[in-house]
Each structure stands twice: as C-alpha cells, then as structure tokens.
Amino acid sequence: MKVADFSVKQLSASANCQAGFRVDLGPFAFRLRSRQTKFLTLFRDFYAEFPVLQADALVDFYIDLAPLDNHRRWIKPQVMIKLNGEQPFQPFAASYAMLLFEWGLNWCIARHAEQNLMLHAAVLERQGKALILPAPPGSGKSTLCAALAQSGWRFLSDEFCIIRAKDRQILPIPRPTPLKNQSIEIIKNLEPSVFIGPSFPNTRKGTIAHLRAPEASIAKLKNTASPAWIVFPSYQAQAKVKVQPIKKCHAFMKLATNSFNYQIQAEEGFKLIGDIIDRSACYNMSYSNLGEAIAQIEMLTHVNQ
C-alpha cells in the first residue's frame, strides 16, 4: 500500500496510535506520530506515492510531531518535533509543521551516515547513469534539478546524494524539493501541472514552498544509478551559460567539501570519492538562464554517453 491509499482520517488514526505510521523512503524508513490534522493532510499530499510499511516494520527514524502544550496553544499554536528522542529544533508555528518535518528528516538523514558517503547534491538519472549536482545553498541547485526533472530526467534527490559504499551506486530518495523565493514561480511557470504546496514566508531562507517529486521517480524508489556526470552549478545573475571541464583532483576536493561525512568515512571515503570521480565527467557550470543551462547539460551528457 502507498500513502495515498489512506484517507486523511485513516492516516490520522494510524499516526495517533503507539506504533505510528511507517513509511519507506527508499534507503531509509521512518515512523511518524502526530495529531496535527493539517500537517498530516499536507504530508499525505507530498508523500502520496511512497510505500507504507507494516506497524511492526523496522525503521531508522522515529519522528514525533506534537503541539506545544503551553499558553500559546490558543493564540499562536506551536509544534515541536522529536527525532529519535532528541529535540534539536526550537518549536515552530503550527502552520509551519510541514517545514519542520522536512528539516527534521534532513537532520535524521545527515546524522545517519555511517555506512554510505553522503553529499550535499541533487541527483538525476537517465538510462541508469546519474547526473550529480553538488552545490552549497544559493547555487540554484534545487531550481535546476526541478527543471531537469520536468525535462526527461528521473529525479533521485534534491538534497542528499547517497552513495552506497559497497558498489558505488547512488540510492534514490525522492523527497519533496524545497523551492525558494523566485524559484517557486519559475517552476510553476515552467510546468503548471506540478504540485507545489503552500508557501512558508519569512523563514531564514526566505519564502519556501515544496515541490512534490514526480510519481515516476517514486515508482522507481529502489532503482539505483551509477555516477556518470558531476556538474558544479553556480547561478550568477546576468551570466551567459559557461561550462568548463574541471581537473579530477579539483573535482575531488570540491566533492569532498560538499560531503556531510567525508571526514567520518576516512580512508574509505577517500577511495570512494576517487572512484566516483574516475567514473564521471566533471564540469563547472555558471548560468543565469535555466533553458540555456538545461541545453548545455543535455549536450554534455550526450557527448559523454
């Protein structure tokens, strides 16, 4: 069964009980407990196609999202999140519960990194080959990734590129993409049929709205991909699109810098990144126009097929 097979009422009942509601994210699984009906309604919209697990299934993350039981309950209600028993975030306004949940899930994933190498990167796939877009916040990574996902690429992840150590395969984790500020309208205009949730203004990253992952991506949740191209995108206002091959050693260092757990992985991480770089064509790309950037990526990924 998938999440969409549950009505909001059924989902609420399940998320209210002790065992909680258990969802398979691909490389991870989580148990969610919450009584926030508005949040659960949104959660259902965004995770509609993800498989639901049995109530006794083993999970990696235990997530509890609960109202803060204080005097603000009636005026400006707040929610708090518990992640595997910890409470690393301050309470949020109840209307921002979805945002808190997504950030909480990021926190869980980033800390659950012993076995696999984890990069801060978007990933897309075509014919089994992965295009990795590693970049710090503000580089236009999410917008570019969302646009590529609407132009024939399979969306694997917006935030985490998880590389399995044993076979160097990239594991999909096609969660909602947090679009920021102008990107929200850009993606809406690019493909009006996509599902974008409510906007959350005044966050520390500006206004955020989540884009639901394409159904076809979630249908291939267990289909891994081999690294083939690494493009370091950099959005620069007014810039003409420019793609430059990058030396392997420099690509290595940039990739290591974008890793959540390279230091923890030690020598295995060093060998793993070396393997990934050897298997991939590596480029820097600066751009301002999304269409031009996509055309360049199409060209270089066809040349290097």
């Binding site: 030396k247 392997k248 050693c249 420099h250 290595f252 260092m253 290591a256 230091q263 030690a266 020598e267 060093f270 060998k271 990144i273 070396g274 770089i277 050897d278």
Partner: protein, 99 residues
Amino acid sequence: MLDSVSAKIKWQCIKPLSAYKPESDEESLIFNPQSGETHLINFLACDILEFLQQPKTIGSLAAYLYDLYQVENTSDLDAQLMPLIEQLHDLGLIYASSE
C-alpha cells in the same frame, strides 16, 4: 648546502598512505590516515613520497630526482627540495626515520 647532521637524516613517508593520481592531472591527492586530512600535492611532492617508501637521505633523494627529471642544472631543484621536505614533515606525511 646541508649541514653534516641534516645530510645523515633518513626520511620516510608514513604508511599506509593512500593516493589518488589521475592520469590527466599533474597534481595528486594524498590521504593521511593519521590526521584524517586530504592534501593536494604537485608532481614533485608525489615523486618524493613514492621514493620515500623506504628511508632515504636527502642526498639519495636528490640524486634520484636529478635522474628522474634528467636535470642538468641542479640548483633549482636543490632550492626546492629542503623547503618541500619541511612542508611534508609539517603535514605529518614524512618523518625522520631511526633506521
């Protein structure tokens, strides 16, 4: 010129030292398992680390490099050598061997 004490010191690289050497690049990467740090090094440093798998004096290292690079005027290489050895030592990639 090295003093007589420095000339007798034998240098050796730490082990195991993992390297990433793409054919297309003149630079290499070295992983230091003791510090957990990764270092971008040039071809000269890379050749030095390879030669220092066994303990060697500066003199024998210099002779090896003259031969490797077919150097006629050795003064340029000599000028680079000791500072580079000191840098590699500071990074914990080589040590003065007791052998």
